[in-house]
């Protein structure tokens, strides 16, 4: 009887202890470190945005900025606008994106859905990885040597687009590839098991599942190429006038406008440089907002 009581008696009640001082110290160190790093990273970011916004705002508030070029405007006059450069940036960005996005996505689909494991696909993936890291100046020199020196075309916005294509296609391929790889194989199998052919499985099941990631990748690519300066310096000549023909003549874009006005010692030059910088940031931001919207609408839903 007594042994039974012994057994029924609860074991020693658990004694919880406070957090040891060693753990507290580690926790504190980590918290301080993380907060510090965050601050170090965020301060320059806000600083840059503030500088650009405060210095560029003056130009942007002038209505002429959005509707006029700098044609015939003297260096010291706070007149005219950046329409020619805005047009150039958007036109070159769109032309590049319209060519790069389909090519990049199709290559990504080939690599993941059709070529997986083949030698050709592995070589392509490897090449794409290397191309992603090619500096823009190298792409620009390559286009110059082939398009302009060998084929004999003149410098134009389109030559700039060609260099931007070399930069953008690998980025789109990579993000498509990575996004398609994370689509679970079970979804493909579920679709095959319903008697749905492979291409339809890819178009209707795999791509919609991966779409928001692909869109994000494309937008990062667009943002990057819109800010590229080196190819523009080598492959286009700056023009203060509005030129809508990307195949012929010199055309501006916002980075080139900044380079041009940076050497203008007048106050107007200062305003134009920062105005162009702020405009570029705003355009890229608008593209990103549009992309966020698209990926929201197409994202995988659970509720």
């Amino acid at each position: 009887m007594s042994t039974e009581l012994e057994l029924e008696r609860p074991a020693q009640p658990p004694s919880f202890q406070g957090i040891s001082s060693g753990r507290k110290a580690k926790n504190l160190t980590a918290t301080v470190l993380v907060t510090l790093c965050f601050t170090v990273a965020v301060i320059p970011l806000i600083w840059v945005l503030w500088t650009v916004a405060s210095r560029g705002m003056e130009s942007l508030l002038r209505a002429e900025w959005w509707s006029h070029s700098l044609s015939g405007v003297r260096a010291n006059e706070d007149l005219g606008g950046a329409y020619h450069a805005i047009y150039g940036t958007i036109a070159q960005g769109l032309v590049t994106a319209v060519i790069a996005v389909p090519i990049g996505i199709l290559v990504g689909i080939y690599l993941v859905e059709y070529g997986a494991g083949t030698r050709f696909a592995r070589v392509t993936t490897f090449t794409v990885d290397i191309l992603t890291g090619v500096p823009s100046i190298v792409a620009a020199l390559f286009v110059y040597s082939v398009w302009i020196s060998i084929f004999g075309f003149s410098r134009s916005a389109f030559a700039n687009c060609l260099a931007l294509l070399l930069l953008m296609i690998p980025m789109v391929v990579r993000s498509t590839e990575e996004m398609l790889r994370v689509v679970p194989n079970e979804l493909r199998e579920a679709s095959y098991a319903l008697g749905i052919p492979k291409w339809k499985t890819i178009v209707k099941v795999v791509i919609p599942t991966a779409l928001s990631g692909i869109v994000t990748g494309v937008m990062l690519g667009v943002a990057r190429i819109m800010g590229e300066t080196a190819p523009a310096l080598i492959l286009m000549a700056y023009s203060a006038r509005i030129n809508t023909d990307i195949f012929d003549g010199s055309m501006a874009n916002l980075p080139l406008l900044m380079v041009k006005e940076f050497t203008n010692p007048e106050a107007a030059g200062f305003n134009r440089t920062w105005g162009a910088a702020l405009t570029l940031i705003l355009i890229i931001m608008l593209f990103n907002l549009a992309a966020t919207l698209v990926s929201r609408l197409s994202a995988v839903k659970t509720k």
């Binding site: 997986a116 494991g117 679970p184 079970e186 979804l187 493909r188 199998e189 579920a190 679709s191 095959y192 098991a193 319903l194 008697g195 749905i196 052919p197 339809k200 499985t201 209707k204 099941v205 919609p208 599942t209 779409l211 197409s298 995988v300 839903k301 659970t302 509720k303």
Partner: protein
């Protein structure tokens, strides 16, 4: 509807690896056949080769023949897409299409094959969901995403999706292994109902489940590690679980090994 399957001398390979050897078995129409056996013995592989899903894996191939009412699904010129249309499959883990609503999930097979008639799709949707015992639970939220359902509901959604294309045969690869006992019961009841219209082959690790739902049971086993799996015996479920003809089967179902 509901056709019979005859498998003759089926050998299945992953690249050079001989996964399953010399399987010969028959599945009568409107019956449930259970595949049991230890892990890695090739029962899922055999199941996947019954609707040509096996060859989706790079390097995978089969030898031998699988006859569906006498027609060889591995015959020359047979379109695997057509075969999978006729022989549907439900997988181990529920896998509804994450970008589609419940309704779109159910009618995905028909819609992606080109059916556009909205009224017809709605009818199929309701009929399939009723067939999968899911209609009452989801009828008010057909436009909500399929991914928002519970695991058991998702699996029944997948069954509804599979039966919506009106297959002749339904293959189930451990359909309850990711589900709780109540959802499992719901699916087992469903299997018994579906038997009226479909020929069903189910892989299961749960021997009670095999005993509960199946009419005949096939026991698969391995010779040893690295050896191909093989079919030990196939017989009426009652006989397999009471008086199997092979010693290995008796050892397995009585828990002496495996």
């Amino acid at each position: 509807m509901a056709k019979r399957i005859d498998v003759k001398d089926l050998n299945i390979y992953y690249g050079k690896f001989h996964a399953v050897e010399n399987v010969t078995l028959s599945v009568p129409p409107r019956s449930v056949t259970a595949f049991i056996g230890p892990s890695g013995c090739g029962k899922s592989t055999v199941l996947r080769s019954l609707n040509r899903m096996h060859e989706v894996i790079p390097g995978a191939r089969v030898d031998g023949s699988v006859l569906l009412d006498g027609a060889d699904i591995y015959g020359a010129g047979v379109d695997p897409v057509e075969v999978r249309r006729t022989i549907g499959m439900v997988f181990q883990r529920p896998n509804p299409f994450p970008t589609m609503s419940i309704r779109d999930n159910v009618v995905a097979g028909l819609r992606l094959a080109g059916t556009k008639n909205r009224q017809q799709l709605d009818e199929v949707c309701e009929k399939s969901l009723r067939g999968a015992n899911l209609w009452e639970e989801v009828k008010d939220r057909l436009n909500k995403p399929g991914g928002g359902l519970s695991g058991g509901q998702q699996q029944r959604l997948c069954i509804a999706r599979a039966i919506a294309v009106q297959p002749d045969v339904l293959l189930m690869d451990e359909p309850c292994s990711a589900l709780d006992p109540i959802s499992t019961l719901a699916i087992e009841d469903l299997i018994t109902e579906l038997k009226q219209d479909f020929t069903i082959v189910i892989v299961t690790h749960n021997m009670q489940q095999a005993a509960r739902v199946s009419d005949q049971t096939a026991f698969f086993n391995l010779h040893g590690v690295g050896q191909p799996g093989r079919l030990v015996e196939i017989d009426e479920t009652s006989r397999i679980f009471s008086n199997p003809s092979q010693r290995a089967t008796e050892d397995y179902i009585s828990g002496r090994f495996g």
